[in-house]
């Protein structure tokens, strides 16, 4: 990105003052390297977001921001319904409630190394990954509606998961306001055989070793000890979320003129929150969130079954489950006044600081775990919401490394089979249905995740707690 068009606030914050039809400024959190590496499209897209009706304070780009659809990926914006604020399908994305959950195991790296190959094979065999893979779960349309209302609670009720998990999931595992009746039969049909599946692309299940602790106090609260093993899952609402996104985006594009919305980019398609379309989208999107929460809970159950065979004494305890493609109604302080706002996070993680009332008692004094995914060969990170998170970007932080190279370029540069051999030599076992898929997701195709989380900490978006090193990756 050309920094000549930005105002440098400090070493980690850049600002675009309103021009043209912008209603608020845009704020980008990045260090010198990250800002230069950001695509110019991020500039265009964050400026466009700042033009949307009812936007509050500013449009924000997280340190991992990159070119998305309408909103940049790594984009955050909050809207006030009483000021004509909108909800945007493009501001949530196709994979509604895509997110990450991490579980502690109490196991050590030596425990995993003793069974690494057979554990990787068992996880790959029993956790459906990649296009065309299915679990044994097949739902009726009525059962699908129950999933969309109940979320992870539904999964636990059906025997997939543990009731103790629920308090460690955003919304206690069940998003209120979900309206299955606003989800089309096509979307539901697309999901009937997809519960408990990872999907593909950048989705994965990883066995990770805790490689470093930055904040002893927070790590202790989170149950993270250096050298121990955690299991992390990254996936979303699968076909259902994709279909909801596709259908509502088309309807929002077609309806924009009737709402008097002059969209600078059709992918910014949106509807007033208080309109019928806005309300229907929110109801359907919340149903999509529940689908994702149930999906990750079921995959957790499958992972626990595999671990119980290898390590009967091990208990996989959920640290936390966070979504990074959502729009949520939250209370935030704006100019000293508490306001209920619709916060869009597109490729951005919620990061509530200490004492936030939505946090479970066990985490309230320390803050919300913020889970940042790596890219097969690189580290993942656990952060915690900081007291400054709210003021910086409506309690939001980055969600991953962010791509530095297109899939197209990655497949020209790397061969999947060679990559898997190289990673195996480093002690990282990859299991994937597609060598080309592995090449597309090559660690080198992503930005430096360490720099991204360093920037998140330096800006006060979140604080670093622990660094995780991959040992086994089941790649979708």
């Amino acid at each position: 990105m050309d920094t000549a068009n930005l105002i440098r606030v400090d070493d980690y914050e850049w600002r675009i003052e309103p021009f043209g039809e912008m209603r608020v400024p845009a704020v980008l959190y990045a260090d010198e390297v990250l800002i230069h590496d950001m695509d110019d499209k991020v500039f265009d897209q964050i400026v466009n977001v700042a033009k949307l009706p009812g936007i509050v304070n500013a449009a924000y780009a997280m340190p991992d921001a990159h070119w998305g659809y309408g909103f940049p990926i790594g984009g955050v914006a909050a809207f006030d319904a009483d000021k004509g604020g909108i909800v945007s399908g493009g501001g949530v994305g196709f994979d509604i409630s895509c997110g990450v959950r991490t579980m502690t195991t109490g196991l050590t790296a030596a425990d995993i190394k003793a069974n690494a190959e057979s554990l990787a094979d068992a996880l790959f065999r029993e956790i459906p990954a990649g296009l065309g893979s299915k679990s044994d779960i097949s739902l009726t349309m009525e059962q699908m509606d129950a999933v969309l209302i109940g979320g992870a609670s539904w999964a636990v009720e059906q025997g997939y998961g543990d009731a103790a998990d629920l308090e460690r999931i955003e919304e206690r595992g069940k998003m209120a306001g979900a309206r299955p009746d606003y989800v089309s039969d096509k979307a539901k049909k697309r999901q009937l055989r997809e519960m408990g599946t990872l999907g593909s692309g950048n989705h994965y299940l990883e066995i990770q070793q805790i490689d470093g602790i930055y904040d002893e106090n927070a790590a202790e609260k989170f149950g993270l000890r250096r050298g121990e093993i955690v299991v992390t899952i990254h996936c979303g609402s699968r076909g259902l979320g994709h279909q909801i996104g596709t259908e509502y985006l088309a309807e929002m594009v077609a309806s924009a003129q009737s709402f008097g919305l002059n969209l600078p980019d059709r992918e910014l398609a949106c509807a007033p929150i208080n309109s019928d379309l806005g309300k229907r989208y929110l109801g359907a999107m919340r149903a999509g969130i529940n689908c994702a929460l149930a999906n990750r809970e079921i995959i957790t159950h499958f992972a626990r079954q595999v671990f119980s065979r290898f390590y009967p004494e091990a208990k996989l305890n959920l640290l936390f489950d966070v979504s990074h493609n959502t729009c949520k109604l939250e209370e935030h302080a704006v100019n000293g006044e508490k306001k209920k706002l619709y916060v869009h996070r597109k490729g951005a993680t919620r990061a509530f600081g200490p004492e936030h009332p939505s946090l479970p008692e066990s985490l309230r004094d320390i803050g919300q775990p913020v889970l940042i995914g790596g890219s097969m060969g690189t580290s993942s990170h656990v952060l915690v919401g900081a007291p400054t998170s709210e003021q910086k970007a409506f309690s939001s932080a980055c969600h991953g490394a962010g791509r530095a190279m297109s899939r197209h370029a990655a497949t020209r540069k790397w061969r999947g089979s060679t990559l898997m051999e190289e990673l195996a030599e480093k002690g990282i076992l990859i299991r994937s249905p597609s060598a080309r898929g592995v090449a597309e997701e090559a660690p080198g195709a992503y930005k430096d995740v360490n720099r991204v989380v360093d920037t998140a900490e330096k800006t006060g978006l979140a604080r670093k707690v622990a660094k995780l090193r991959p040992m086994i990756c089941i790649k979708g």
Binding site: G68, Y69, F94, L131, G201, R266, E267
Partner: protein
Amino acid sequence: MPENIIDAPLEKLLGWKHFPHAADIGILGFGPAPHWAFEQAAIALTAVITVKPIDLAEHVLIFCSAGNMEDLFVAWLNAVTYEMAVRDMVFGDYVVRLAEGRLCGAAYGETIDQKRHQPACEVKGATYTELRVAQEENGIWTARCIVDV
């Protein structure tokens, strides 16, 4: 892409390619008429998923409509994506006919087999980003957009 529609042999008038996007993939189809560009773009969509051989034994009929050619193109790609998802199929060839904002198409393929097709990724949906359906200066029609994977 050929320089001139008049002089080029038919096989050179048809084709597809991928173009880069930061996180996802751009697909482009071209041909001497819009329906060929739509067919070729759908082949490009399949190539996002797999480049392995696909048996064309089964077919699925697809119908969609929209107010303009670009929206129709997005609707077509999303319909193809949907049929692949709910039928567990992968399509290797397509036939499209267009008339007055309506599309009638057929997608030919087989049940997806992870071992044989080794799908690299799943297409979530077609987007309006980089969306363009137009006749170029050389007379060739192109249809393009970014697909979310």
